[in-house]
C-alpha cells in the first residue's frame, strides 16, 4: 500500500512537471557575441555619439539582412552565384525592441537636448514567442541612462557592446556601468566634456 502511495506521488509530480512545462510562456533566450570594451576610452573611440536620455515607450520590430556591394567581407554572396534572399520573406529577420528616448544631455556630437531618438535592443517577439537576449540589461521606461551609441542610416541606434555602453547615474555627476556581465566602468560628466 505504501509502495503504491509512493508510486502515485512520483507519477503525480512527474505529470505536474510536464504540465507546467507545457503551460509556461514560450520564451526563447538568444545569445549574442559583442565586442568587449575595457575602458571608457575604448567606448568613446568607437561611439558615434554619447547621450544622456530618458527612456520612453517601446515597440517590437525586426532587423532584416542586407547583401550589398562587391566587398567579399561585407557581402558574403559577392563572387558567388547565390541569389539574394527575398527580403519580403522575412528570412533572417532578427527581433528587436525599439525604445523612444528623449535627449537630456548630449556629448560627442549627439542630438540636441530635447530631441527624440530611437534605440534598438536585441530581443522582442518572433513567431508568437517572446525573445529575450541573455545576459543583456534591458532598458526600462522612465529611467535616465547614459548611452554610448552606434548610429545607422536605416535602423535605430544601438548600444555599443549590447549593454557595455549602458550607464546609470551614480554619485553626483557620474555614471556607472549597468552591464549585466561586462566589465564594470565609471565615467563622470567632466570626463565626457573633456573628450
Amino acid at each position: 500500500m505504501r509502495r503504491c502511495k509512493n508510486t502515485s506521488v512520483t507519477l503525480g509530480l512527474g505529470v505536474l512537471v510536464l504540465v507546467m512545462s507545457g503551460c509556461s510562456n514560450p520564451t526563447v533566450e538568444i545569445a549574442a557575441d559583442y565586442p568587449g570594451f575595457n575602458s571608457i576610452k575604448e567606448l568613446t573611440a568607437v561611439a558615434d555619439f554619447v547621450v544622456e536620455v530618458e527612456i520612453g515607450e517601446s515597440y517590437f520590430d525586426v532587423l532584416l539582412p542586407t547583401y550589398e556591394g562587391e566587398d567579399p567581407e561585407l557581402n558574403p554572396l559577392a563572387g558567388t552565384d547565390q541569389k539574394v534572399p527575398d527580403s519580403d520573406s522575412g528570412e533572417g529577420a532578427v527581433p528587436i525592441t525599439v525604445f523612444k528616448a528623449t535627449v537630456v544631455a548630449s556629448y560627442l556630437g549627439g542630438p540636441a537636448v530635447g530631441k527624440t531618438l530611437e534605440i534598438q535592443q536585441l530581443g522582442g517577439e518572433a513567431e508568437g514567442k517572446r525573445v529575450v537576449a541573455s545576459d543583456v540589461r534591458s532598458l526600462v521606461e522612465g529611467e535616465r541612462v547614459l548611452l554610448f551609441l552606434d548610429e545607422y542610416a536605416d535602423a535605430p541606434a544601438a548600444i555599443l557592446g549590447g549593454d557595455a555602453g549602458l550607464f546609470v547615474p551614480a554619485d553626483e555627476g557620474s555614471f556607472v556601468s549597468a552591464a549585466a556581465t561586462e566589465k564594470q566602468l565609471t565615467v563622470s560628466v567632466d570626463d565626457l566634456l573633456e573628450r
Partner: protein
C-alpha cells in the same frame, strides 16, 4: 549483523526519495528559472555534441574561416558537427544594422546562427581570424556554453577576448563541454 545491499529495504527507500526529489527539483528549475549553478552553462545548447548543420554557400572569404571554426570544435573528442542538407540547424551570414558580431537562436533540438558581416568586416584585426573566432563562439553556444563565463581562464566565450588570436576552443572551454556531454 544485518547485511544490506542496494536492493535492501533501506536502500530501496532512499531510491524512492531520489525518484521523488528529482521531479521536484526539475519543477523548481522550471518555476524559478534557475539554471544549474555553473556560471558558464547556457540552457539553449543542443542535447548532444554530435549533430548536423546545413552546409553554407558563401564566398571563400567566409567559408574558409567558418570551416576552420567547425574543425576546431570537431577536434574535441566528444564533438562531431557534420554538414547535412537535411539538418534543421543553419547559419545566415549577412549585413545587419546592429552592434553584434554574431547571434545564436536556440530551437527545439536545433538552432540558427547569424553572423553580422557589417560589424565583422569593420572589426580590427585579420578578418579570417575575427570571423572564425565569432563563428566558433556561436558554435560554443550550441554546446551549452554561455557568454562571458566567470573565470580567469582564457575562453572563446568571453566578449573581451582578442579575436585576432583566440579563435579556437581553449582547454577551459573543452573542459566545460566535457562536463555537459
Amino acid at each position: 549483523m544485518i547485511k544490506t545491499n542496494k536492493f535492501s529495504k533501506p536502500a530501496r527507500k532512499r531510491r524512492w526519495h531520489y525518484l521523488i526529489a528529482a521531479p521536484v527539483a526539475a519543477a523548481l528549475v522550471i518555476l524559478t528559472g534557475v539554471a544549474p549553478a555553473n556560471a558558464w552553462y547556457y540552457s539553449g545548447g543542443m542535447p548532444y555534441a554530435t549533430y548536423s548543420i546545413k552546409p553554407w554557400n558563401y564566398n571563400s572569404t567566409w567559408t574558409t574561416p567558418m570551416n576552420n571554426a567547425l574543425a576546431s570544435w570537431n577536434a574535441h573528442g566528444k564533438v562531431n558537427i557534420t554538414k547535412s542538407s537535411r539538418a534543421a540547424a543553419y547559419v545566415t551570414v549577412a549585413s545587419y544594422s546592429a552592434a553584434w558580431y554574431g547571434l545564436y537562436t536556440p530551437g527545439t533540438n536545433t538552432f540558427n546562427i547569424k553572423l553580422n558581416s557589417r560589424t565583422l568586416a569593420a572589426a580590427a584585426g585579420v578578418f579570417a581570424n575575427v570571423s572564425r573566432s565569432t563563428f566558433a563562439h556561436e558554435l560554443g553556444h550550441s554546446l551549452s556554453l554561455a557568454d562571458n563565463p566567470v573565470t580567469d581562464s582564457a575562453s572563446l566565450m568571453k566578449h573581451n577576448r582578442n579575436r585576432n588570436t583566440l579563435y579556437s576552443p581553449t582547454s577551459w572551454d573543452n573542459a566545460c563541454v566535457n562536463s555537459v556531454y
